[in-house]
């Protein structure tokens, strides 16, 4: 069975470490916040100018001056701080954020990422994605393994305009987990399979070259 959206978020949450400052993208990455282990201290950064994001507010707590990067109403925590967009991106581009979890349209076997633009369609913009992949220490992608029409999204080379070149460290899809040696020469490796997914199925749905380096199930 391929992983569900929540299972994807749960798997991505295993990339968190105690003490990490983390930026979560919009969509499935946002769900990762629901799976932070209780015994772990993780501080969520929101690029519109907040460190230490709390849960969504109760109805009577809503504050229009307090939103996340997805423009959703949010709450603060005792440890929270607020700052300008310039300070926010100093954190991001200055390498002060340990981990970013983002969505993707395409990822190449050497770690190129495309997640902001489809030529010929209305382009909404890259927002902070290019800054995040350029500056955050480790970039984890969470996405469906194939596009809606079944086309592979893990490719030899991206066909869409890039968000960043050699920026992705790990790709978690609904079928498995891939490790990318973005700074070196080792080939992309398949390190985990979703329950009940076969190597043959993954091979059939992946264009990118990869070598199986499967770990024992955790």
């Amino acid at each position: 069975m391929p992983w569900t959206r929540d299972q994807l978020a749960q798997r991505a949450a295993r990339e968190l470490r105690d003490g990490f400052y983390v930026n979560l993208g919009i969509g499935i990455p946002t769900l990762v916040a629901n799976y932070i282990p209780d015994d772990m201290e993780v501080t969520l950064q929101s690029e519109n100018g907040m460190l230490g994001m709390g849960p969504f507010p109760y109805d009577d707590e809503i504050d229009p001056d307090l939103i996340n990067a997805g423009k959703q109403t949010i709450t603060a925590l005792p440890k929270s701080s607020f700052f300008s967009s310039a300070d926010s991106f100093a954190m991001i581009r200055g390498g002060h954020i340990a981990l970013s979890i983002l969505g993707a349209m395409e990822v190449s076997e050497r770690g190129d990422l495309a997640n902001w633009m489809v030529p010929g369609k209305m382009v909404k913009g890259m927002g902070g994605a290019m800054d995040l992949v350029a500056g955050v220490k480790r970039v984890v992608i969470v996405m469906e393994h194939t596009a809606r029409d079944g086309a592979p999204k893990l490719l030899h080379a991206c066909s869409l305009p890039l968000t960043g070149v050699r920026v992705v460290d790990l790709v978690i899809t609904d079928l498995g987990v891939f490790e990318i040696d973005k700074a070196g020469d080792r080939p992309m490796a398949l390190i985990e399979l979703a329950d009940g997914v076969s190597l043959d199925e993954i091979r059939a749905k992946t264009e990118a070259a990869f070598e199986p380096r499967l770990r024992q199930a955790a």
Binding site: L66, I67, S85, A86, G125, G128, M130, D131, G164
Partner: protein, 235 residues
């Protein structure tokens, strides 16, 4: 010393607008936008504006109001996905659009306001954003040259301010406002509350008054784009 305090957004804008001008407008989504000055710009009838703003408002609110009246010729933004009228004008060729990565946009404005002509960043290297721009290697890594941004006018929104132009922002409504305050030839701030000079703690002022030329008290709707709540568990 000239009095910076003006009675309303219309009088604050008086004598400052001209067709083809470049305006920076603060805010992230609809959070921390200068609602009153956007309305005053609409009423002024100024045309052909280039607007530098992270987003383009929504239909019928924020910068969407200036799109409705076709007063904007060009937007410089990082994300504009929430606006149908924007999409229509862009796809029909009526509206020009320049995308900047959000951090690059923030830093270009910060640099412009600080008199810095350009800076090198890793953001966008190897992408469309870097096309036609100088790239240079530092310590074995490639960086792209981005230039500072300035504007004829910047309009910003703060929480509290005084007649000296000192400003304090509130929560995530700060966002692009402090940098934009520094990068306009003229900066007008609108605030929720005007407090007496001396009432703000000098250690807690976010934008020192030197950057602010005019200040007005506004009234605010503070529309919410994505109202997201959780349910209380039954007691």
């Amino acid at each position: 010393m000239a009095d910076k305090l003006l009675p309303d957004a219309q009088s604050a804008l008086a004598g400052l607008t001209f067709d083809g001008m470049v305006v920076m407008s603060g805010g992230f989504g609809l959070c921390g936008i200068p609602e009153n000055l956007i309305l005053a710009l609409r009423e002024s009838g100024v045309k052909g504006i280039t607007v530098i703003s992270n987003n383009a408002g929504v239909d019928g609110f924020g910068l969407g109001l200036l799109l409705e009246t076709r007063q904007i010729a060009k937007m410089v933004s990082s994300y504009v996905g929430e606006n149908k009228e924007f999409e229509r004008q862009y796809l029909s060729g009526e509206l020009q659009l320049e995308f900047n990565p959000q951090g690059t946009l923030a830093e270009r404005i910060r640099a412009g306001g600080a008199g810095i002509a350009g800076f090198y960043t890793k953001t966008g290297v190897g992408t469309l954003v870097a096309e036609g721009k100088e790239t240079r290697s530092f310590h074995g890594e490639d960086y792209v040259l981005e230039t500072g941004l300035v504007a004829d006018l910047s309009i910003v929104k703060a929480w509290k301010g005084d007649a000296e132009g000192n400003l304090v922002y509130r929560k995530t409504a700060r966002n692009f406002n402090p940098m934009m305050a520094t990068a306009g030839k003229i900066c007008i701030a609108e605030v929720e509350e005007i407090v007496p000079v001396g009432a703000l703690d000098p250690d807690q002022i976010h934008t020192p008054g030197i950057f602010v030329d005019r200040i007005v008290k506004g009234s605010f709707e503070k529309r919410i784009e994505q109202r997201t709540v959780r349910k209380r568990e039954a007691a």
